[in-house]
């Protein structure tokens, strides 16, 4: 939606999300670049700012890591940026604080889910605490071993995204190409009740929709096993896991109209960013919980795919030769 939501002047420690491009990946990390692309592609994205890798570097260099004391200039930059976000709401915003590692979304090595996300921070102190926790996570042994396994290089730096939370009624992920077969004609949507964490964390089986991009028809529709949902607490300061009532487990997490909206988002993003995207989304409200539900794009990255389709050509230019070959027992779709 609007760039004005992502206000706050850029500085050494803080960046305006909409200004984050692939050239900035070492400073702001892959997730922030993804958010920047979503904003530039005209998508509605919850308001956010980025704490740069430089802030992390200075934090480590200053030796305050163990003492929990943050340099004043970093603290000031964060406080100003957070205040700017809150100004738009004239209230304290509940935000998600996520690491945006500078190696995370490197080509062909999606670290999806490997970096922890902190939901429900509210107030300057809480936000700064969470940023610090993110920085510590960058040294989490679990993360290190994953990085070593994928051989993406030495320890990277880490940036942090502070982003307004969506009171999500439903959320999930969307692939603009079938993640297993590579079929480009499909948009595959996984959806569940509540925040997207239950889907991303694999706690539940989400509803599945395979939608044809050309006819816009839902070709496959499978009801998930959505036993729990993540919801913001009523005071907006945390996230709680709730059991989903049996009747609601039997209901689809999203409507056909919402599927159509997701399809439109997929088309716009493929047009802007190219084929084969993995998109996180949510449907809900920001700010006052009583507002109208809207579709938000939360994240985008290139899909991690088993094999790309669109690979099966025919070696003959003359269709008659191809047909004669097929009727002689040779398969048409060779290669791949």
């Amino acid at each position: 939606m609007s760039d004005e939501r992502n206000v706050g002047g850029s500085s050494r420690y803080v960046r305006v999300t909409a200004s984050c491009t692939a050239d900035d990946v070492e400073t702001v990390g892959g997730k922030a670049v993804g958010l920047g692309s979503l904003l530039r592609a005209g998508q509605r994205v919850p308001a956010s700012f980025v704490v740069t890798a430089a802030a992390y570097a200075d934090y480590v260099a200053s030796g305050t890591e163990d003492s929990g004391l943050l340099r004043d200039d970093v603290r000031l930059a964060l406080a100003q940026a957070y205040d700017l976000l809150c100004e738009q709401r004239s209230d304290l915003l509940t935000v998600a604080v996520r690491s945006s590692a500078t190696v995370e979304d490197a080509h062909d090595a999606s670290f999806a889910g490997q970096f922890r996300t902190y939901l429900g921070a509210r107030g300057v102190d809480s936000v700064i605490d969470q940023v610090e926790l993110c920085w510590m996570t960058a040294r989490d042994p679990h993360v290190d071993s994953y990085r070593a396994h994928r051989e993406v290089g030495p320890e990277g730096s880490v940036a942090v995204i502070v982003q307004e939370l969506v009171h999500a009624r439903a959320a999930g992920v969307m692939f603009t190409q079938h993640p297993r077969t590579g079929d480009r004609s499909l948009v595959v949507i996984e959806a569940a009740h509540g925040l997207g964490e239950a889907v991303v964390g694999g706690e539940i089986t989400p509803d599945l929709f395979e939608v044809n991009k050309i006819t816009r028809q839902v070709q496959t529709r499978r009801l998930g096993h959505k036993v729990v949902e993540h919801r913001l607490t009523s005071d907006g300061r945390g996230v709680q896991v709730h059991p989903v009532e049996p009747e609601r487990q039997q209901q689809w997490a999203i409507s056909d109209e919402e599927i159509a909206e997701l399809l439109r988002m997929a088309a716009e993003l493929e047009a802007a960013l190219g084929r084969g995207l993995d998109i996180e989304w949510a449907i809900g409200t920001t700010g006052e919980p009583a507002g109208t539900d809207e579709l938000f794009a939360l994240q985008v990255r290139p899909i991690t795919i088993d094999h790309d389709a669109g690979r099966a050509g025919t070696s003959h230019a003359n269709p008659i030769d191809v047909v004669l070959g097929r009727l002689s027992g040779r398969a048409t779709g060779s290669g791949g």
Binding site: H178, T181, G182, D183, R184, S185, L186, E210, N212, K213, I214, T215, Q217, V218, Q219, T220, R221, A309, G310, R311, A312, G313, T314, A317, N318, P319, I320, V322, V323, L324, R326, L327, S328, G329, A331, T332, G333
Partner: protein
């Protein structure tokens, strides 16, 4: 039905239904499972040809499958020399037709046939449009010669002209010679039927497979929509009915057309006014050929054409008039359908990498070039020609009634075509000598016996397949023409114990999901029981069933492929359809509540009809 280890019932283990003992005597021995080939035949796959012959085959009507038994197979085996396939065998089981494809696996034999096939098939592909134009000429000429044939009862004495023109031969000779020509004519049309079909389906199948390789989730329906013509001859009869309904309203005789009563009553009422007469003249001008339109697949004499019984077209026009008066637009949205076809094609094309688009265009182009034949041959052959053929046979039946050999003209269909020669000859014997023969009583008794057997066979429900399926089904004719592939086989195998099934599967033929009440309809005559908004569950539909599609919520058919009638018309009316379920009519009872998922090819039982509801319905 299915047994463990992935085999169907052994064809040699099928029991004869009660009251049908001796059914084998109605059919030639080469179409029966005989002891000589037991070891070979029990381990092959035999599938029920529900698409063309959903009912037990009448002995005379066996002419139809037997015609393609030689013509289609000669094209595969001897003319094209298809490298990987021999012909398709036929067997009759309890009166029902089963088929079994044969493949060539020996690489040396394939290699030997390949260059011959390539040269011959290429000739047709490269000259397709010219050959098709000539084909239309050959087919219409064959139909014209058939139409010119007449069978008249033998007179008390030979006409004077036989003497005055010193003819030498007689009208009795003409009768037998005429019958030979009738059979030859049918045989000839069967060759035209398959002259271009193998190759056309081959081109279509290649494009289909190209699409499926690139887009694994693409449905057959979408591929068909990219290729199929919009304004094809097969829809012309229904379009004419819509036009005639409009005309009647314009002329102010819509109420007459809408009035209840038989077609004859309506025609009489029309004759009472100049406007009505004008409308009748319009009707007469389009009857030939558009009312030569079978109510079945064109393989059974019992499915009369509109030309013989105008009840179905008049019922449809009555409905159309009512809809026009309600302000509905009856015209088929041709421009919309055309735009939709191009939108789908370019949508898929754009998803391909640049270097594969030329291949897509080329295969789509060839498929579209050959497809008019696929769509139109059906009208020329199965509707126009076969309708006339069955009527000529009925005419001959009337001759045999006059000669005292048969009781009713349609008894002739209980005789195999070569038995008809014997009966004709015996009629000639009686006529020549001038006294009765014992043969006439023998044949009448035999026909009575066969009538009882046939009734017993009708109540038997043929399983979709027998014997042992191959690991994969790739033979192009089986796959495209009969819609049998490995998925179909697996569905049938999985349908074991289907009596208690909560759902069953078929081909997703037309998208959408609806819930509603089922109406099981086996024959076109039963369609008048259908209540608006019900789900039609049937063995298969024929083009003349189109008239009910405006009233149903969804269609489910046992047989049919993605290009079958039910699939095409459902897409046109934007109704969900699931075809090729194999067993839908056996599982569903009228009154059952169903969910038809045309996106995924699944039919789910929501609730079962109480037994009383069925008899009440």
């Amino acid at each position: 039905m299915a047994e463990s280890g992935g085999r169907f019932t052994d064809p040699y283990d099928i029991a004869t239904p009660e009251g049908a003992d001796g059914w084998q005597s109605m059919y030639p021995s080469y179409l029966l499972f005989g002891d000589d080939l037991r070891e070979r035949d029990r381990d092959k796959l035999w599938f029920f040809d529900q698409m063309h012959n959903p009912e037990p085959v009448y002995p005379f009507d066996l002419m139809m499958p037997e015609s393609w038994l030689v013509s289609l197979n000669q094209y595969t085996t001897r003319i094209w020399n298809l490298p990987t396939a021999l012909g398709i065998e036929q067997r009759i089981v309890n009166g029902y037709l089963y088929l079994s494809p044969n493949v060539i696996e020996d690489p040396a034999q394939i290699a030997e046939r390949e260059p011959i096939f390539a040269e011959r098939a290429r000739h047709y592909f490269e000259n397709w449009d010219t050959i098709y134009e000539d084909w239309v000429g050959k087919a219409t000429d064959c139909i014209a010669r058939l139409k010119a044939m007449h069978f008249e009862p033998l007179g008390v004495r030979e006409p004077t002209e036989t003497v005055t023109s010193a003819r030498g031969i007689t009208t009795a000779f003409d009768l037998l010679a005429g019958y030979s020509r009738l059979l030859e004519n049918m045989h000839e049309m069967a060759y035209y039927h398959f002259e271009m079909l193998n190759l056309a389906y081959g081109a279509y199948l290649t494009f289909l497979e190209f699409c499926k390789t690139n887009f694994p989730a693409i449905t057959d329906d979408l591929v068909a929509r990219m290729v199929a013509g919009i304004d094809v001859i097969l829809y012309r009869p229904d379009s004419e009915l819509r036009r005639l309904a409009h005309r009647a309203v314009e002329l102010g005789v819509g109420d007459v057309l809408k009035s209840p009563g038989s077609p004859d009553d309506v025609v009489s009422a029309m004759e009472a006014s100049p406007e009505g007469k004008e409308w009748l003249a319009d009707l007469e001008s389009i009857k030939d050929p558009w009312f030569y339109y079978s109510t079945g697949a064109g393989y059974c004499h019992a499915n009369r054409a509109w030309i013989d019984d105008m009840t179905p077209p008049f019922a449809a026009m009555r409905d159309y008039v009512a809809r026009i008066e309600r302000g509905e637009d009856l015209s088929r949205p041709l421009e919309h359908l055309q735009a939709e076809r191009e939108r789908i094609a370019s949508g898929y094309r754009d998803l391909l990498d640049e270097e594969h688009r030329a291949g897509f265009d080329a295969l789509l182009g060839l498929s579209r070039q050959v497809f008019p034949y696929v769509e139109n041959h059906n009208f020329y052959v199965e509707h126009w020609h076969h309708s006339i053929f069955f009527n000529k046979a009925r005419e001959l039946g009337a001759v045999l009634v006059a000669a005292g050999m048969l009781e009713r003209d349609d008894d002739i269909y209980f005789l195999h075509r070569y038995e008809v020669y014997s009966v004709l000859y015996e009629a000639e014997v009686r006529w020549s000598i001038g006294v009765p023969t014992s043969g006439e009583h023998t044949w009448r008794r035999e026909i009575e016996r066969r009538r009882r057997i046939y009734a017993a066979l009708e109540s038997w429900r043929p399983p979709p397949a027998l014997g042992v399926p191959p690991e994969v089904v790739t033979e192009p004719i089986t796959v495209t023409l009969f819609g049998i592939n490995s998925d179909t086989i697996n569905r049938w195998l999985a349908a074991d114990g289907a009596g208690a099934a909560e759902e069953f599967h078929g081909l997703a033929a037309s998208p959408g999901v609806v819930e509603g009440t089922a109406r099981v309809v086996h024959r076109v005559e039963e369609l008048d029981q259908l209540v608006d908004g019900e789900i039609l569950v049937c063995p298969l539909t024929a083009p003349s069933w189109s008239i009910v599609f405006a009233r149903i919520a969804a269609a489910v058919s046992d047989g049919g492929g993605i290009m079958s009638h039910a699939a095409i018309v459902s897409r046109e009316y934007e109704l969900p359809a699931v075809v090729a379920t194999g067993i839908g009519t056996q599982l569903v009872k009228t009154g059952d509540r169903l969910r038809v998922d045309g996106d995924n090819g699944v039919v789910t039982f929501l609730s079962r009809a109480a037994d009383s509801a069925e008899s009440a319905g």
